[in-house]
Symmetry: C3
């Protein structure tokens, strides 16, 4: 056992699956933002991954409730599980809103936020893999730093998009309502990536 977990640790295995599921959803969302057709169906696909993610979260929390000695602090397990779930919830909500609001075209800032989410969730997977090998703890930390950078970029993109919406020469209130909502949901997804990174960083500090 080089890392925190034994090779077949249930928590590690479920975290890893959940992170992959979150990343898959980010890629579907990015595809939708890039090629904006068949919106309702493709939002529904993301919704299905969200349900799959609920199942992983449920399994983690149920296993946590039944397990007396855990490889990580209970609060860290809880935080990682629920925040991974929050990421995919926000992405699914964003896709759903694109469909509900009958959005016609996607602003470039929204696509850029989609890219941030693809990058940040790939870094989450990389960081999880590093948790299983103490020699890779520096790599985990490096991934977490990069996720922070992505979150900052997400924030910058949202602010740029909001400024554009409100300072248009003839602002359309309904468009503002729609896109302010969608941009804030996308940005919140990047915040939740940062929360997972913070929890992983805390795990590395405790076990380093």
């Amino acid at each position: 056992m080089l890392g925190i977990f034994t090779k077949e640790d249930v928590f590690f295995s479920l975290f890893r699956k959940s992170a992959q599921n979150v990343h898959d959803a980010a890629k579907l969302l990015m595809d939708l933002l890039t090629n904006f057709t068949d919106v309702a169906n493709r939002a529904h696909q993301i919704h299905n991954l969200e349900h799959q993610g609920d199942e992983f979260t449920h399994q983690i929390l149920e296993y946590l409730a039944k397990t007396f000695i855990t490889p990580l602090d209970r609060e860290d397990i809880h935080k990682v599980a629920t925040r991974l779930d929050d990421i995919i919830d926000q992405m699914s909500t964003a896709a759903n809103r694109l469909s509900l609001y009958q959005v016609k075209t996607i602003p470039s800032d929204a696509r850029a936020l989609g890219e941030v989410l693809v990058t940040a969730t790939a870094l989450l997977i990389q960081a999880f893999d590093g948790l299983n090998n103490k020699k890779k703890f520096a790599e985990v930390t490096n991934c977490c730093v990069q996720i922070h950078t992505q979150e900052n970029e997400g924030d910058r993109l949202m602010q740029h998009a909001l400024a554009e919406l409100f300072t248009a020469s003839n602002p359309d209130p309904v468009e503002i309502i729609k896109w302010k909502d969608i941009f804030q949901i996308l940005e919140k997804a990047t915040d939740r990536c940062e929360d997972v990174a913070d929890a992983m960083q805390s795990i590395v500090v405790k076990h380093g």
Copy 2:
């Protein structure tokens, strides 16, 4: 002692009172949505129940702080108490917004969301009662499943309502702002019911 609590357990007694208070507020809110008159006064009645709920939450958390050995995990007690409080806070805010925004008529989806809250909070009471008798743990689980179903229905209603607001032939931005806000608050109240159900489910798993 057949259940988790002794008969006079302070936590159980306060949880039960708080859940009843939440359910009473849900019924007042439903009455208001059904017979939409005297709005400011009746919103204030719901606000008074919210204050009563604050008092229960305060008593639970103070007793938790003073109690060394608790019948449930501290984190579960904390979660149940604060999430019950969140439900009534959201319902009180919804009633307040109906008054502040000088809403004229209530859409049918809002009444349906009110019904969801009445049903879900009745199920919470039933689930709490089951916690006190291990023979009824299956019933607790069944209530929690039904609360999830109600939460899904709340989500569906909110999405239907949002779609209607935005796809009206001549959408009124001020109406959209008002009702998007109110629908999201009502839906958040159903989410918090689900959180309490999740905490109860976790208690049943740990003590089953």
Copy 3:
């Protein structure tokens, strides 16, 4: 050692610095709301204090992760640190929105909410100082009660402001969107002050 902490306790010292930083940000925000010029630069100054606050939070949580025996319950340390951070985040976001939305004039309710934040954050500092001396625990409680009063006042101001926005004779939807957002952010900052006060009250109950 008259209080909970030893004189050089790291947690106490960092809490105290973080609370002072939050109060400094509240004063800058109030200055901006009173003398509304050079908005982007002054919003950026508040943003810089937010970053300083992140650093304190990070130090507290890292020290918590490394420390086996803590002077307070771990959950209380965590709550105080993160909620202090939330206060300054909300204030920084409010300042940022004033700039992004190219706001022209400040309504009096917004200035009054700024005053509430200055008062509540000064009370937080006073309460922290009292934590270090059991003879001053009654003073801590008194400060917490006053912070609750401030939060109620913040809520009242926000409701008054929302009612005014929506009941104007000819409501401007874009103005409603901007100011509903800003007022809710300011009010949320007062809620987070109350959360810190609740955590301090819980500490006093446990150690009294």
